[in-house]
Subunit: 115 residues, 4 copies
């Protein structure tokens, strides 16, 4: 089982054990994801853009950012599971598609739209 599938199974089991599946319809999960993205945004909002990497190199702050990103990922895999989406495969397909849409030679030096 791949890492994302394992995480998905673990989050599903965690939800099932607590009878939380009843609350986890897609709209609720998207709102929960938005809440976590909001907490992530708050960590960075007043940090000067060119100092952000250095400031978050401090172990406590890096760990804090990691926790918020983990929250985002947990809700994302839960949403994918509820919708029957294979998230890992979708990400690989998206990246393959980006390779087609943005051939590396053509876009060098051009501002990105999507990594």
């Amino acid at each position: 089982m791949t890492e994302i599938a394992e995480l998905t199974a673990a989050v599903r089991e965690f939800s099932r054990e607590r009878d939380w599946e009843q609350f986890q319809d897609p709209k609720s999960l998207v709102l929960a994801l938005v809440g976590e993205v909001g907490e992530l945004a708050e960590l960075f909002q007043w940090v000067p853009a060119d100092e952000a990497v250095d400031r978050f190199a401090v172990p406590d702050r890096r760990a804090r950012a990691g926790e918020e990103m983990a929250d985002v990922l947990v809700y994302l895999v839960r949403l994918a599971d509820v919708l029957g989406v294979d998230l890992g495969a979708a990400a690989r397909a998206k990246l393959a598609d980006s390779h087609r849409r943005f051939p590396s030679a053509d876009v060098r030096g051009v501002a990105p739209h999507k990594p």
Copy 2:
């Protein structure tokens, strides 16, 4: 290499080949993540909550949702990479912490705050 580490490496290489790393400071990546979460939210906004799972069982809509979730994941792994965060490990640590904070017997039947 784990699945998330492989995806992280692939997104990093994709960014490097296009000289896009210069644009991918943490604040910019959080904004890009927000943009993708917004597109995900738009898919669900007017769908009745109790019909969302069924409506997204249609292959085209499921694929569309998968693409938006993939975009969120791609920016999330890129942000984690820029910050030196091990996202897979952070997610597992978070889930272990949730097990401690929400023992399954105590909370059964209680509305969830965090899965």
Copy 3:
């Protein structure tokens, strides 16, 4: 002076008195807005969709929702001010445009895309 212009002036003065204008570049303000939208989303995430209005009719919860919406509005008017956008005029122009794009007779009974 209109209500939105008054609010804009009050927020600007508040920021100026605290020397906070230096932190309030557009990207930072959008991230701050995202943080507040996240807090608003958290209030609603696990509430059943068809019970949300009733549950938030309780004065304490309504007040709490009002505070989060106020935070969103405060950052929105601050962002508009920093960008030189007349937010009230923009909203009226948008609504006029929506009247043109969605004539009421044609769309009756059809799912909305944008109010």
Copy 4:
């Protein structure tokens, strides 16, 4: 009638004429707000932080930013209306509260948490 109350009444009437009120429960409106915030974020994501004000001084880009901010405001006033929240009063109360929590002399030179 104040400006925000007028805008609220206009958006309510617009929704009523199209029978869209049935779709505009609070969770759906928060998701719609998130969608618009996402579009706003996309405008700024790859712009260097210290160039954002200048780049958006160009009339077309300023107008575009104004439209996205207008969309956010329209959904915000609609949500407030559905919840029975007086948004203008809430914003003024919030600002008065911020004056109490952040007396201007004490915080001068200190990084802001909330404007």
